[in-house]
Symmetry: C2
Subunit: 456 residues, 2 copies
């Protein structure tokens, strides 16, 4: 059996901690058994490790998440990287073609697709392994996992079983009902409907045949080259709606979607993450602070206060699902990002009278890591090293660097930096347009950079 | 008649906007008639201008406030600067000696001392001018202004008149009662007691004679040199308690102490200062944001949310007077300061493995201004100019500077900078101990700096 975890896109429902560059699954807002802060992805990965499934797991993701995933889960995690964001059908199709043509997985092997961040008990993953037997038993094309509803929620999708479904290990699915009102939900629960938790199980052959029937390539490299031809559609609409035999398995354990501040804070073991203090009469309030300055709460109750370099949210917990209402107007660049080589944080942005943009960042390159050998077309940079040791590549020279050194890097200059001891520096970018996309990379690997420069 | 405004010390009751370097009177949280944000000091100064009293006014202050006062009120304001912070008696004595020995004010002239930031109607200042006549009429040593109480407050001090006080323009004071409980306050109001609003009127000669009787110098320069001999005591304890004949005048107009967030926000004409947004169902909430990032309020009510580079406060308005309870533990350096030459903001602070401190600031020098010619003993600095034009003095050289230039200034190097066009720069300080106090100034005036260097 293989698992495909879908690492979904950006979302602002957990603004200001989540943004276009940081999806909610990467926020370190949960706590492990040692009370260390971990992200939703890290929590799921620990669980997969514990049930022995992590080595059979592939994460379907986009380019923008690769560095964060390696950073949070380690370099040995299997990634299938979309060349562009489309939707869940293309992402799952690509992962299936990877299993088929690169990993040469047998067409009879069962594959389970699931979100990267379900907040569940470990037994959820045992239930997933049962899908293998259920698919063999039922001969269904698709097997889903449904969660036994705990209340008539109007927020979830429901899997409705056939009335005459009499199997023991699974039910045959009649149809789906998305977000019914409360009254409908009550009726559905009476009919043994389950909350759909977004897990799809199928034999690899089912999806490969589907690709063939749609005239799409089954070879991974071919599919990646024709990725734009894939329908920009969800797996639910493209596949599930057109599948005849679907069964579902009931998971009767803890399951929660931590998609909003009120649901997330219910699962936090601590009321303050980061610098913060609360008066004794502050009640049922959570502070999540990624800034260097303290947050003080005085006499408040039922609030979530979240702060990051992107902004500060002060929300009544019950109001927090409505966050998109008010932050629509904020459309600024991400102010903090984790990368393969470390992290950066934007300290300041301003414009000169000549309409030139100035962006000041603090950049950290972890011990042993390096920035790629690259140049920018439209900006100059000044690097001031405040900490650490290493080497800088500037066009055809490699120089040792130390704390206190400053380097001016005009537009067009190839440059790279390697930290032999963790480096922190202040980077000042200036130019008519300072955007992350203005980067031309020649080489990422430091020893190759050294070779190239030595040859010059 | 002369006025002495007491510009009081630091306070944290309006944290995080007020701090050791920024007293509450300097926060631009009020609005003038054009809806521009102004500080309490600026509001009072406008009122004094309008009633024609500003040129007769002297501000008694400490060194740390000089630059801010010039910056907010203009260079023509009269300041009497204490050599060290002691208490209100020494501050008033110093100002009196200044009027006597430097300004040669007649000993019969009436002086009124008042706080720098009363939130009052203009008629309050007309009432102050009445003190002159009242002192002549009553032959009292001290004349106070009392505000007619609007409710039996337990927060204020009360001026209690003599029972047989039958004058028309003033009352003879029997005694004072500090912060009575509500029941006592009711009784005091019944006896025509007034709230004491901290105004003291007296003939200059009264105070000068008092200095003589205490064996203290009456000459300003002598007093400043012996400032440490002055009793560290308040004017109330040192003078008022020992004065026999005190009268009071009633001011029957608007008067308020904007000392806490709840009282202050009641006087704001706008609910958001700085970057912020509120959902439609947010009620009776004020946002004061000095940060560059937005604050979003969602579904909350009766909150004050205040943010500065020092921290973020989220407080129920009624709880805000208790702020000192929770911020006692925060004892960090001020993160933003206004100066004679512009302003700076701390962007980042960290330590290296070798326990060296690194402080990164954004510094703005306004057009025409300059930093003094100075050096630091314990820190190196790197200046990266991101905006503007001007000149830098480095030891015995003056060089023109432009955007993009970077200067390394090792400890011990004399340096100064002058902005011909507003300069903004990123300053990185590094050393075993980076504190504001590590500064040795040789000269402040730029043309003198030029002369000195040309002579070398």
């Amino acid at each position: 059996m293989k698992l495909i975890l879908l690492s979904g896109g950006s979302g602002k429902r957990l603004w200001p901690l989540s943004n276009d560059a940081r999806s909610k699954q990467f926020l370190k807002v949960l706590q492990d058994k040692q009370n260390e802060n971990i992200s939703m992805v890290q929590r799921v990965w620990k669980q997969l490790n514990e049930v022995g499934l992590s080595s059979s797991t592939y994460i379907a993701t986009s380019k923008t998440q690769v560095e964060t995933l390696y950073n949070q889960l380690g370099a040995e995690v299997n990634l299938v990287v979309e060349p562009a964001r489309r939707d869940t059908f293309p992402a799952i199709a690509l992962a299936a073609s990877y299993l088929f043509s690169i990993e040469q997985v047998d067409l009879d092997e069962v594959v389970a697709v699931l979100p990267v961040d379900p907040f569940v008990h470990e037994s959820f993953f045992h239930k997933i392994t049962e899908l293998e037997r259920v698919i063999q038993l039922s001969q269904a094309d698709l097997a889903l996992i449904g969660v036994k509803p705990t209340y008539p929620s109007s927020k979830y999708g429901y899997i409705v079983p056939k009335v005459d479904s009499e199997e023991i290990f699974y039910s045959t699915v009649s149809h789906f009902k998305e977000k019914p009102n409360e009254k409908e939900a009550e009726k559905l629960i009476y009919k043994n409907a389950l909350w759909n938790c977004g897990v799809f199980g199928f034999k690899l052959g089912y999806l490969i045949n589907l690709l063939i029937s749609k005239g799409l390539p089954t070879d991974y490299n071919e599919l990646i080259n024709n990725y734009n031809d894939l329908p920009k559609n969800s797996f639910d609409y493209e596949v599930v709606e057109n599948t005849k035999k679907i069964v579902s398995v009931e998971y009767d354990g803890y399951w929660k979607d931590l998609g909003t501040w009120n649901t997330l804070t219910e699962e936090m073991n601590t009321s303050i993450i980061g610098k913060g203090i609360m008066s004794e009469d502050t009640k049922d309030t959570h502070v999540l602070n990624e800034l260097d300055i303290p947050i003080a709460c005085l006499g408040v109750s039922n609030l979530v206060v979240a702060a990051s370099p992107d902004g500060i949210l002060v929300s009544q917990k019950t109001a927090s699902p409505r966050i998109k209402e008010i932050i629509g107007g904020f459309n600024e660049r991400p102010m903090y990002e984790e990368r393969r080589w470390g992290w950066y944080k934007v300290m300041d942005y301003c414009k000169t009278d000549l309409n030139e943009e100035i962006l000041t960042k603090k950049v950290c390159i972890t011990t042993g890591s390096n920035l790629s050998y690259h140049y920018h077309e439209h900006r100059d940079e000044t690097w001031s090293i405040i900490k650490g040791e290493g080497f800088i590549a500037l066009n055809d020279k490699i120089l040792p660097i130390n704390k206190g050194d400053t380097f001016r890097i005009p537009a067009g200059t190839f440059h790279a930096i390697k930290a032999s001891q963790e480096i922190q520096m202040i980077e000042i970018q200036s130019g008519p347009c300072v955007i992350e996309e203005d980067i031309n990379r020649l080489e990422i690997n430091w020893s190759n950079i050294e070779k190239k420069i030595t040859l010059v």
